[in-house]
Point group: C2
Chain length 205, copies 2
Amino acid sequence: MGRPRQFEIDAALEMAMRVFWSKGYEATTLPDLLGAMRISRGSFYKAFHDKRAVYLAALERYNRTRVLETVAMLQKAGTDSGRERIEALFKALAERPDRSGCFLCNAAVDRAPHDPEIEERVNAMVQRLEQGFRLALEGDRPNIDPDVLDETAKSLVVNYLGLQVLDATGLNEQMAESCRLQVSRMLEAAVGGGNGLDERAGDNR
Amino acid sequence: MGRPRQFEIDAALEMAMRVFWSKGYEATTLPDLLGAMRISRGSFYKAFHDKRAVYLAALERYNRTRVLETVAMLQKAGTDSGRERIEALFKALAERPDRSGCFLCNAAVDRAPHDPEIEERVNAMVQRLEQGFRLALEGDRPNIDPDVLDETAKSLVVNYLGLQVLDATGLNEQMAESCRLQVSRMLEAAVGGGNGLDERAGDNR
DNA sequence: TGTGTTTTGTACCGAACGGTTCCTAAAGCT
DNA sequence: AGCTTTAGGAACCGTTCGGTACAAAACACA
């Protein structure tokens, strides 16, 4: 029925997300979006309602294609331990080639304070990330003290976001290694060695 | 020598800074600034060159009145230890009443990637903060291993910035306490001299 | 082939943008 | 006084903003 859509919503959304990601919400103009999405104004307003709706959809896409992927990576059972997967994540942060930062982090800083709906989704993503850390830690040590588990997972989130900010400033490289070592120490205290063995009695219960 | 200026540059800059702080650079319009600074367009362009120059001046003011104050607080000798001052800083972050976030952090995320001059000043401020942590730690333990000192100071910066991001999302409250405990552990390992704040040392609650 | 439906591209909208230039009144100086 | 500098307001610049209206185009189904 009717003329079929001549572009793919997902592909267009991916491009829109990248523009918002690199320029921020306010600095991104409609022509910026149209150029990146390779559609015209008419198609834009037909497929999405307005600029803000595209931003929300882009945020949702970031959640689906980036955050949930990360969470899945953190909790996927395999030959490696949860601690190793967490350390791998922070290592990847340290060795990132570009300086793209993190769309979630950008949204948190420049949109969340002014848009409750965005704040809500940002919070949900942050908590999903925390849950990823939590599951990875719990996988290594099922009988971990719930308070230690909670603190460690939350602290990992704080470190994760802090590194994302520094990535945007170009200081990531010199900071990430130090942060990585401290994270490693924190993990050692929380779940012990990478093999998951509990070598220190009374340490974590 | 002509008519004297009828407004105070510093006071106007303070107001401008608050507007940029809360709305971001792009979202702040000239009328926004004029209203907050309580000056007219004519005076604006006479005293400052343009919007960007005001932003830079506001950033400089943030450095002078906020960052340097914090650094001075961290390193001021007194009855308390450097560790106590660091913990007090993180405690203050946790108990912040508003959700204003951090202008430095905002600048890092939404301006630094697009303005080399801003990036440079943001980096300088971050490094000044790191230096503040470093001096506080060194004051407590002059013979501290330089590598440990460096790592700890950098990691404190990462935690500091991460908490600022979470403040913008409203998740600060539940995260800050966990982060504070982990920071306390990190400080215990780096300089010792715990004041009993780390209740879990050798005990599990 | 004709009809109905949906998408498409584009011309266009009013409003607001950052920035500039006037100009007059006001306030210091010698 | 007379000179000089600034203040502050208004009008205005060209541009760009997000958003809309509409007719041509492309399909599905009859």
